[in-house]
Amino acid sequence: MVREFEDVIIQTLCRFLVPFIQLYSLYVFAHGHSSPGGGFQGGCVMAAAFVLIFIAYDLNEAKRRFGEKALLIFCCLGVFIYAGTGWACLLLGSNFLDYGFLSKVLPTDPVKARYYGMAMIELGVQIAVMAVMVSIFLDLVTRGEHEEILEEKGA
């Protein structure tokens, strides 16, 4: 996981597999309102795609694609989207997380506004879960010593 195998079959297969897993994750997220699925499941499947990159390639490649700073930004962004939707409802004159009043800014009626509010917070949950799972896996697999391992490899 940390050091590279140099195995052509595994690397090629994983490179073909990763976009399909990410597309499936977006499908699960987008159809969470009318079929089983939603933010948690989509986020976990998306995190599994990055874990696959970790397993197939080495640490350097994975950190080049999804660095630690980007992970922290995405963690905070997910929680911010969730809480920000609640605050938007509050600023529009309603209670916290009462999405019906979003119809004042969205071109829909209050019932459909609740539908879109739910889609909004599921997006926040998906981003937060994906970033946190990848971050925990990155810290566990390197014992928190990314820089030392990268220097050791001479990269």
Partner: protein, 81 residues
């Protein structure tokens, strides 16, 4: 919900749980724990909790097993009991 199918799946889950506790190799124990959580996922599918089963299949059998293996990669897989 079909109670015969449920009974078979619950027995398999009990066997997997006992094996995960008693086996003397941590990597095997972690893999059997993933199998146990997948049996739990099938039990909930046939009980009607499809969202929970989906989450369990992603989280319990996927991400948690990856976390355990990442930890064992950095530590040891030997155990005395």
């Amino acid at each position: 919900m079909i109670w015969q199918l449920d009974l078979i799946l619950v027995f398999l889950a009990v066997i997997a749980a006992v094996a995960a506790i008693t086996v003397r190799d941590l990597l095997s124990a972690v893999m059997i724990l993933g199998a146990f959580s997948f049996f739990m996922c099938m039990i909930w599918t046939q009980m009607g909790g499809l969202d929970v089963a989906f989450t369990e299949a992603c989280v319990g059998a996927g991400i948690t097993t990856a976390f355990f293996i990442a930890t064992l990669y950095n530590t040891t897989r030997r155990t005395k009991d």
